[in-house]
């Protein structure tokens, strides 16, 4: 497994694919940063202008900015006071990018790894591996190489976002930056592993990489629909329980300062990752290659 992991990772890093993926991820993050930055500045500017017109003092402008910050923070954390307090020093733009990242990351992961297994089963190159290694080792090696690549890409992008936020907000202290960078990175990784495993499962189900990709997107859409619909229904409707079957439901507490809350989310993602991986192994173990 370790040999396959190292070899697949080396191949991915040497190929242009890692660069393309990095570029794609950077472009999306940069777009979000620019849009969110622009909207925030515009809003703040309008509020300041209004306050000046009404003859308010500079402290009132600062208070209004703080209220706006708290409002957005409350929206992003579902008004969880512990989480709001823990994230109060993080620039709002970073939080918004993080939230949006969690939305697009599953699709990005699907694009990254849709052919990890199907790309070898279709042209049968997997046959060269299975006479040398267990199918479980092949699967885990490929899963780990995808996860490691993602780990690196997310770190690079998160670092860039935090540095950008530091440039925009000189009061964003280095210590707070470093601690939150690790926290955000860790949360993204915990979240991502379940989706990397889902992509591994989808890739194991089909011989054609294109079909794997489409099926992966369909599943992501179904998960999103399950989460959205079950949130929209009334509290008495049994459909509300469907949300527990969607991985995205558990993303809310990934940045929670209380260990129990974070561990609950983390355990849910670990369980999803395990289920998807066991499913992928079950498929690969029993199929003709």
């Amino acid at each position: 497994m370790m040999v396959i992991w190292a070899a697949e990772l080396r191949r991915a890093v040497r190929s242009g694919r890692a660069l393309v993926l990095l570029g794609l991820y950077s472009m999306f993050s940069a777009l979000v940063l620019l849009v969110v930055g622009f909207v925030t500045r515009e809003l703040q500017g309008q509020v300041n202008t209004k306050l000046m017109e009404e003859g308010a003092d500079p402290e009132a402008a600062a208070r209004a900015a703080d209220q706006m910050h708290q409002g957005v923070l409350g929206f992003l954390t579902s008004n969880d006071t512990a989480m709001m307090q823990a994230l109060s020093q993080v620039p709002i733009v970073v939080l918004i990018v993080f939230k949006l990242t969690l939305f697009f990351l599953p699709a990005y992961i699907a694009l990254m790894g849709f052919d990890q297994v199907s790309g070898e089963v279709g042209p049968r190159s997997i046959r060269y591996l299975t006479v040398r290694a267990r199918r479980s080792s092949v699967l885990l090696g490929k899963f780990l190489s995808q996860a490691t690549l993602l780990l690196g890409l997310v770190l690079v992008i998160d670092l860039a976002i935090f540095v950008y936020a530091r440039i925009l907000n000189p009061d964003f202290a280095f210590g707070v930056l470093a601690m939150n960078l690790l926290k955000f990175w860790g949360a993204t990784i915990v979240f991502s592993l379940a989706y990397v495993a889902l992509t591994t499962l989808c890739s194991s189900l089909f011989r054609s990489p294109a079909v794997s990709l489409v099926f992966n997107f369909i599943l992501l859409f179904v998960f999103w629909l399950m989460d959205s619909v079950s949130r929209a229904v009334e509290d008495t409707n049994p459909v509300r329980f469907v949300r527990y079957l969607s991985p995205s439901y558990y993303s809310g507490n990934l940045l929670h300062p209380q260990l129990a809350e974070f561990a609950g989310s983390g355990a849910a993602y670990a369980a999803f990752a395990a289920i998807f991986l066991v499913g992928a192994y079950g498929v690969l173990r029993t199929r003709d290659l």
Binding site: I4, R14, S125, R127, V131, R132
Partner: protein, 303 residues
């Protein structure tokens, strides 16, 4: 350990309603070069794939080097396989890919093994070449090289010379001959002349079923018949059949005498010499003598 390298008992493989292999039973002895023979769609590659653990049999049991090939990790280090239609993974240099696979097989000196195997198939110049840039013949040889690394006790080769130019094909045949006796080799091929030259034993498959299996001598009748090509002169059949050891004789066309003999009780060379001596004594001129029949003739007769 059993003397059998491979043992198939009533093995069948179905793909939906289609029966690709039907209740095939055969045995491959250790150290033999064994041929899988048959026309397109006979079930050679399916049988080969089950031996390598790529396909699960629908019925029956397989033992490869004493273990079931579908047991996870069972074939590691025991089998080298050249699958017929498996594409080499893209994005690798040939040398790096072979070293990776050698590491995966736990071979102690991956680079040494990779270079040695490439040398055997005459492809050292491709060490730094990307797999997607290889020609068909080069890719085939690179795939062959990976099957040879580490000198596994069993080597399974599906169409090893298909698409190779005659010089390289001869080189590959020599590699197989060199393995004879020390490694067991299973070769699946359409090239009957090649199989006749290489194999100690073979199985002839047709429409998924086993038509015949045995040693090459049994299949071609080398121990039971020979042919004499007559240039000029008369052959008196009753006189030939009365010679010691001869069971029967007949003319095939006007100039080929086919003689069947009791290969158990009499040595082939004795019966052949006796018959040829008799013909020469009777002023019959001979162009040549050949033992048995061509494998191709036997296969065409069976299928």
């Amino acid at each position: 350990m059993s003397e059998l390298a491979i043992e198939l008992s009533g093995v069948s493989k179905r793909f939906g309603p289609k029966v690709a292999v039907n209740a095939v039973s055969l045995q491959v002895r250790q150290g033999d070069v064994f041929g899988l023979i048959g026309p397109n769609g006979a079930g050679k590659t399916t049988t080969f794939s089950m031996m390598c653990g790529y396909l699960y049999p629908s019925e029956g049991s397989l033992k490869v080097m004493g273990v079931s090939p579908t047991t996870p990790g069972a074939l590691k280090g025991r089998v080298g396989a050249l699958p017929q239609d498996a594409v080499l993974p893209p994005g690798w240099e040939v040398g790096s890919l072979l070293m990776y696979w050698a590491r995966l097989s736990d071979l102690p000196q991956p680079e040494h093994e990779a270079r040695g195997a490439l040398e055997k198939v005459g492809l050292m110049e491709a060490w730094k070449v990307q797999t997607q840039a290889l020609s068909h013949g080069m890719a085939k040889r690179a795939a062959m090289a990976q099957a040879l690394m580490g000198r596994p006790p069993l080597v399974l080769l599906d169409e090893p010379t298909a698409g190779l130019d005659p010089r390289i094909a001869a080189q590959v045949r020599q590699v197989i001959k060199d393995m004879k006796g020390t490694q067991t080799v299973v070769v699946s091929s359409h090239n009957l002349q090649e199989l006749e030259e290489l194999c100690d034993a073979a199985a002839i498959l047709d429409k998924g079923s086993l038509a015949q299996a045995g040693t090459m001598s049994e299949l071609t009748g080398q121990g039971a018949e020979f042919r004499v090509q007559i240039a000029r002169g008369d052959v008196i059949i009753p006189e030939i059949t009365s010679l010691p050891g001869v069971i029967g004789a007949r003319m095939e066309g006007t100039d080929v005498l086919c003689v069947r003999f009791d290969g158990q009780a009499h040595k082939a060379e004795e019966v052949i010499s006796r018959t040829v001596g008799h013909l020469i004594q009777h002023q019959t001129l001979i162009l040549g003598v050949s033992r048995g029949r061509r494998l191709e003739d036997r296969v065409l007769q069976l299928l």
